[in-house]
Symmetry: C2
Subunit: 308 residues, 2 copies
């Protein structure tokens, strides 16, 4: 295929500490990439625009751009607040308009969704969720977030899921630790995120040895959360990424505890017999974020409602 016939897409992974921008093909090949720290919205978006303008000169025009961002945000194209970050404690970013300035500067359709919905879409196109229609992408690290595709489309609904904030049973006799979430005394993120582990045990999660009791407790909370998600969303697979989930001793514990917590109630061989391929790590690694953004860009191109 000649270079001119190949469609190019832009991807922006908007994180709380860094932005990653890339230009890629529809096959998941990345042709150019740049990362810089997240400062003010104006300065950060100016760098994003400069990157894409340079790349368009070198590589040719982009068909569309996808933004997979930290939230909360409004991903619903029909909404008046589409394209905005909502109220966030991150200085300067509350009510920041992301999509309109990019569209004004670059003039292509801009897709906009959460980082985790983006990662889910990327894993569906090129990773651990190929061939599925209904699954969850969960990240367990500094925070806990979840994205999902149902029948092949990301969940938006009211805004987007906030899977880190479901309530969980918390036995204070076994675990007297108080949730660190400023909003909820008993939520998944407040009990099981990296900072919660660090505060509970006095050292960073990745420094705790594999046989430390921290991991049994962590797996117990994750398994309760997965049971909640399984009973609500009926996913065909759950992909678990993020810094905490990288510890190799964790997922085997999570698998056995999830099966035990469901206790045979969901009669699917995926859970009863094939749990190792039901609860899995991501397969896109460090490029998941920006590939997810490129997958969003592709989706925007083929969906009339997502273009401005």
């Amino acid at each position: 295929m000649s270079e001119s016939a190949r469609l190019l897409f832009g991807g922006i992974e908007g994180g709380g500490t860094k932005f990653v921008c890339a230009v890629g093909t529809g096959d998941g090949e990345i042709l150019a990439e740049r990362r810089f720290p997240t400062t003010t919205p104006d300065e950060t978006l100016a760098r994003v625009v400069a990157f894409f303008k340079e790349q368009i000169q070198v590589l040719g025009p982009l068909a569309s751009i996808g933004v997979a961002s930290f939230g909360p945000l409004d991903p619903r194209p029909a909404s008046a607040a589409f394209g905005y970050i909502l109220l966030t404690p991150k200085p300067g970013w509350a009510h920041a308009d992301i999509v309109a300035p990019l569209h004004a500067a670059i003039g292509v359709p801009i897709a906009f969704d959460t980082d985790v919905n983006g990662a889910a879409l990327g894993e569906w196109r090129w990773g651990a969720a190929r061939g599925l229609d209904t699954f969850i992408y969960l990240t367990i690290g500094t925070g806990i977030g979840g994205g999902a595709l149902v029948n092949g489309k990301p969940i938006h609904g009211l805004l987007h899921p906030e899977m880190g904030h479901i309530p969980l049973p918390h036995d204070k006799v076994l675990d007297p630790f108080e949730s660190i979430c400023p909003f909820h005394p008993d939520c998944f993120e407040g009990l099981a995120s990296g900072p919660a582990m660090e505060k509970r045990w006095g050292q960073k999660a990745e420094m705790l040895p594999p046989d430390h009791p921290a991991w049994e407790l962590e797996a117990k909370y994750i398994a309760l959360a997965l049971r909640s998600f399984i009973c609500t969303l009926s996913p065909q697979r759950i992909i678990i990424g993020g810094g905490v989930a990288k510890q190799p001793q964790l997922l085997p514990l999570v698998r056995s505890k999830t099966v035990a917590s469901l206790n045979g109630y969901v009669q699917s061989p995926a859970i009863l017999k094939e749990i190792d391929s039901f609860i899995v790590p991501p397969s896109l690694g460090g490029r998941a974020g920006v590939l997810g953004a490129i997958a969003l860009a592709q989706q925007a191109l083929y969906s009339a409602t997502s273009s401005l």
Copy 2:
């Protein structure tokens, strides 16, 4: 429109104690209806077939039939177990094939889904969820079940949701009652279904006076469950039906406790300002089940994958 040009649909509400069969139009008008007790699968399905054969003689041919049934069941048309009830304690119904005998006898496409996915679809076509794309239909009565549409389609995924079996925080100091679910020590159904209320308080839920502390506790558990569903599915509305939810003092308590439990985290006016139209009773009343089945039948007609 002439009678001959009007499409007719069959609907079957398959309940644990009774079956309701109906023939209706695509506008939700019911032309004929019959109900009989649920006995053995053979006897019950024979009565279903006899009803539809009679009605076809009188009213004309059916375009399709929808079955909205108790579960667990397999609603995935591509599955080998499509159309079957799965393992159930209900005598005689484990592994009962529902769809194939109906299709063999009547020869039209048969749609098959859970009672609650059917009810969700009915409320979407003609009831409290018109115009939405992502919402939940919850029933709180003898059991607790939930159906949902996401982006306008029922959730199947692995099989179907089992929303009554999410884990909930259970403070045994405030509520020493043990869950009545034989599978889960801490699930929504085990703590908050009608039989759980009856066992906890020594009388049927509908006999407890409106100012009885039972309702505060019941609303607390329902609100925790709704927070879990909201954070996972991001619904635009939650419809709550079922015998327990009919008590008029309950929904106002559930609304205020759900807002309190989310504690401002989900930044949507639907929750922050319009909770009365976010958590609502069903609007189809006693016909919800059979209208849901008719809505399934319509969907089957327009979806190639749902016909046999």
